[in-house]
């Protein structure tokens, strides 16, 4: 019986205690619960605020008022930096001379993208060449090594909208397509076509360019208009030739030397006015790897110091692809140079290049499939009595898409005996 009562006592006490606890719990949920809820809500809000601040650092601009506009998005230009470019090693032997290896070029390209629509691009050509030492007997001889660094282009591109890009700086000029589409790993022949000597490769100024799709099939119309300092005169006059230090008559036209900053540090055009130019292009693909592109371009402006003589150039370019294996392209270049002494000169020329990738034959031979055969015919008439024809046969062996080995034989015919030497060139080129 005793035991019975004890059990009952413990049970009663337990129930009471349970009731008491339950009562306590109910009391907490009413007052403290609300307080805790409020506290939690406030904390959640603070966390949210902190997260927002961290996600968009530009919001801190509210705290520190910037003087200049902040960069548009994310990381700055230095973080969207990319170095690409190419390098070439060459072996060349000219008929009647010793063959030699050369590091033809190390050509890095720096790309900095500041935002979705601003890109700065600069390309260099770094070469090693002999120096020239003057000897006691009055002659000079090649000796020593010099590194030359050339700026090929350094331009700022601003993509204004879908149809207009503004370019400023030292620009590769859209005169024909050769200069704009050249690099060691994409040229199929190491040396440039002869008539390209008639045109400036780059120019300092501004350019507007853009491309407009013409229909759903991928046809494109592209345009470029530009103003640059233009060519200048070696001796300042409008004479066709001038005498160099060795009393040799050399062409007076200087296509690349009017860079706006003069030797004494002053700025200015070497003559009165800049030159204007542009290109219109039409690209017609009809399926992948089958397309035709046609272009017409030109530039005109004065070249002598007095600004009386005009230099103009006109270029027609075309490129055709029939299958992934076959390509024909070429340019016709005509220039007009008004002179003081010999009237208007019309130096001109053209080049045409045909290439065929043997993979198109579908032979089951690995070596053959990586080989491309190339032919080029180029002609240059300087309209001062020298006409040069060159025929090139060669091949490109692709170790990969950007590592290639080229071999070419050039047959040269020229009115100028100094130029009429055949030569053989081998080149290893790598694009990175």
């Amino acid at each position: 019986m005793n035991i019975h009562f004890r059990t009952l006592g413990v049970w009663a006490a337990g129930s009471l205690l349970g009731l008491a606890w339950a009562a306590r719990a109910t009391a907490l949920s009413d007052e403290d619960f609300n307080a805790m809820k409020e506290q939690l809500t406030r904390q959640a809000q603070r966390i949210e605020q902190l997260e927002k601040l961290q996600a968009a650092p530009t919001n801190t601009a509210g705290v520190v008022q910037p003087i200049h506009p902040m960069p548009p998005v994310g990381l700055g230009a230095t973080h969207n930096f990319l170095m690409v470019g190419d390098a070439e090693v060459q072996f060349r032997r000219v008929e009647g001379q010793h063959g030699a290896f050369t590091l033809a070029d190390f050509a890095p390209i720096f790309l900095y993208r500041a935002s979705d629509n601003v890109l700065f691009e600069a390309g260099f050509d770094i070469r090693l060449q002999n120096g020239s030492t003057s000897l006691l007997n009055g002659r000079t001889h090649d000796s020593g090594a010099q590194t030359s660094i050339g700026l090929s282009f350094a331009q700022l591109d601003y993509l204004l909208n879908d149809y207009v890009t503004i370019v400023a700086g030292d620009m590769v000029l859209p005169l024909g397509t050769y200069s704009e589409r050249a690099a060691g790993w994409l040229n199929k022949i190491p040396n440039d076509p002869l008539p390209r000597d008639l045109l400036p490769g780059s120019g300092i100024g501004v350019q507007l360019r853009g491309t407009i799709p013409l229909d759903m099939s991928g046809q494109l119309f592209s345009y470029a208009v530009y103003g640059v300092n233009g060519p200048s005169s070696m001796d300042g006059s409008g004479a066709a030739t001038t005498l160099d230090a060795g009393s040799n008559a050399v062409p007076n036209l200087d296509l690349g030397g009017n860079v706006g900053l003069q030797s004494d540090g002053t700025t200015g055009n070497l003559h009165g006015s800049p030159s204007g130019g542009g290109r219109l292009g039409w690209f017609i693909p009809w399926k992948a790897h089958y397309d035709l592109e046609l272009g017409v371009s030109g530039q005109s402006g004065t070249w002598d110091d007095a600004g009386n003589r005009r230099w103009s150039a006109g270029v027609l370019d075309a490129a055709l692809h029939l299958s992934p294996y076959f390509e024909v392209k070429g340019e016709y270049i005509e220039t007009r140079q008004e002179t003081d002494d010999v009237g208007t000169l019309r130096p001109r020329g053209y080049w045409i290049q045909v290439a065929y990738k043997l993979a198109g034959l579908d032979l089951d031979l690995p070596l053959i499939n990586d080989l491309e055969l190339v032919n080029r015919y180029d002609v240059l008439d300087d309209d001062m009595g020298t006409k040069t024809h060159r025929y090139t046969v060669g091949y490109v062996y692709y170790f990969s898409n950007t590592l290639l080995f080229e071999g070419d034989y050039n047959f040269v015919h020229s009115d100028d005996p100094a130029q009429a030497h055949n030569d053989v060139v081998f080149q290893l080129a790598y694009g990175f």
């Binding site: 790309l111 591109d157 491309t211 991928g218 992948a288 075309a318 005509e334």
Partner: protein, 102 residues
């Protein structure tokens, strides 16, 4: 005498170019006419455009060679240098970024 000769040479140059252009243009018009539907009805995809554009000035560069961020910089460069329209550039960029595998 010399002028006449050079005029002749120039004349022939122009004629040769004009003839080439006319012949090629006509070949293409014919090929396109035969190819009727070639892309006319549906818009070209990023991959189609990559195949059309990225192998014509140089050997094609594979998506896996660069990271998505690098592709954005490169495609801006190619848009300007390679005369690509904005709409195509965006599609090709998306395709390359998706395929870059990085």
């Amino acid at each position: 005498m010399k002028r006449v000769r050079s005029l002749n040479a120039r004349g022939w140059g122009i004629v040769a170019w004009a003839a080439t252009v006319v012949i090629l243009a006509s070949m293409i018009i014919v090929a396109r006419a035969g190819d009727g539907k070639a892309g006319q009805s549906k818009a070209l995809t990023g991959e189609d455009l990559y195949k059309i554009s990225c192998n014509r000035c140089h050997a094609e560069r594979y998506a896996r060679e660069f990271t998505p961020a690098q592709w954005q910089t490169l495609m801006t460069h190619m848009r300007v240098r390679g005369n690509l329209p904005a709409t195509q550039t965006k599609k090709i960029l998306k395709y390359l970024q998706e395929e870059s595998g990085n």
